[in-house]
Symmetry: C2
Subunit: 216 residues, 2 copies
DNA sequence: TCGCCGACGTAACATTGTTACACCGGTCGG
DNA sequence: CCGACCGGTGTAACAATGTTACGTCGGCGA
């Protein structure tokens, strides 16, 4: 027996990886059914048999992106020291996004017109977000904050997404790469000191006030 | 004389307004040269004579968007009390973005594939950003902060963009509209208390530390 | 063995961005 | 006054893209 698992879904994975490769190398504009099919070594029909069309293919790219993204964040959480897990997660977030800008844009900015992620895809995306919630919750427990970790994590997420997406869209008027990095780190520091209640009493007052507002 | 100004550029404005209308009503996916031309009452050639092609049209939409966006922010700055100009600006930012989501996405998220704004367009965008810088600088002068207003304004911009773009992409797991509004306001409060140095001494220490990091 | 069903390719169709070409009206030089 | 030019316009075509119809092939069960 030369085939322990029937290589039935082989073309499916070939198509998906070819599509992701084209997306990474040539951008979302070059992501056509024909180019993907020829890169995968099959005809355009294959895209329709395995994904139902271009929308289905983009959705698979969307889900695959969140899985890879989540794996990268997971790896960081596993290695980072507990005290700075949130900071490490933020750096991993930016690093992955800048390493996969076109993929990130498909996931967060709806780069492909007329694509709307299904409920399944949104569940996957939500699962990735939960990692940030867990790391935030752990940090808040350690510090003694009793606010809502989900809300705090969302503030962190929104800020990270803001810096990163402006950076990818080249809409930040930064002078060079190191400027962008310093800017992100400065913002991150303000966040961890402001959003995640710092140890000082005055900061705690602010955080409690904010938490009260959010929870109402 | 029935024509004080020769209505020569009439078709140009007709095409542009038709394109913006289609973008607002049907989204970026429906923004085709033919649909725009028929809506403007001319042939597809008109788009090429006045804009050089679809990319030129999208660039005009990009520039027009920043002009309208800037006008909305300007109006807010003119009416808002000086003490809360930054807060008012932030609310105007979110309000305009949520009222014109497809336009906002064309401007900030590169929704149209293979579109890259020219230097001219980026200059217009930069001009709009300057309003935020000026309001931030005025606020910082009033409070006595001597940091770099451009950097502080960028932190504000990134955060606002983060909340708004996640909201537009429906990637925030919010329960309803009022939840999103409270969330944005909570984040805005943290920002104005953290990024824009608050009056209290402890907060000032944090801000100085941050400013020192940024300026290096 | 016969028939079915899933995977696959070829070829066509509608749509879209783009270009070539002809027309038409005004302007300017002779 | 007239002919050439030139900018704005429309028609029609072309290439690329998403999609679908149809035929083929191979394995599997009745």
């Amino acid at each position: 027996m030369k085939k322990p698992q029937p290589p039935l879904r082989d073309t499916r994975t070939a198509i998906l990886s070819a599509a992701i490769d084209i997306l990474h190398v040539h951008g979302a504009g070059a992501l056509t059914v024909r180019s993907v099919a020829t890169a995968a070594g099959c005809s355009t029909t294959g895209v329709y048999t395995w994904f139902g069309g271009k929308n289905g293919l983009v959705e698979a790219i969307f889900i695959d992106g969140f899985q890879r993204f989540g794996a990268a964040l997971d790896a960081t959480r596993a290695t980072a020291p507990g005290d700075h897990q949130v900071v490490g997660l933020a750096h991993a977030y930016r690093t992955w996004a800048l390493a996969n800008p076109t993929h990130y844009m498909v996931m967060f900015a709806r780069t492909v017109p007329d694509f709307c992620p299904s409920l399944d895809a949104l569940v996957t995306a939500h699962g990735t977000f939960q990692q940030l919630v867990e790391a935030t919750a752990a940090h808040m427990r350690r510090v003694g904050d009793d606010g809502d970790p989900t809300e705090v994590a969302h503030h962190l997420w929104a800020a990270m997404h803001g810096y990163v997406s402006l950076e990818i869209a080249e809409m930040d008027m930064a002078v060079d790469e190191s400027h962008r990095t310093r800017r992100f780190e400065a913002g991150l520091r303000m966040l961890t000191e402001g959003v995640l209640r710092a140890s000082s009493a005055s900061a705690a007052v602010t955080a409690v006030d904010v938490a009260g507002t959010v929870d109402r």
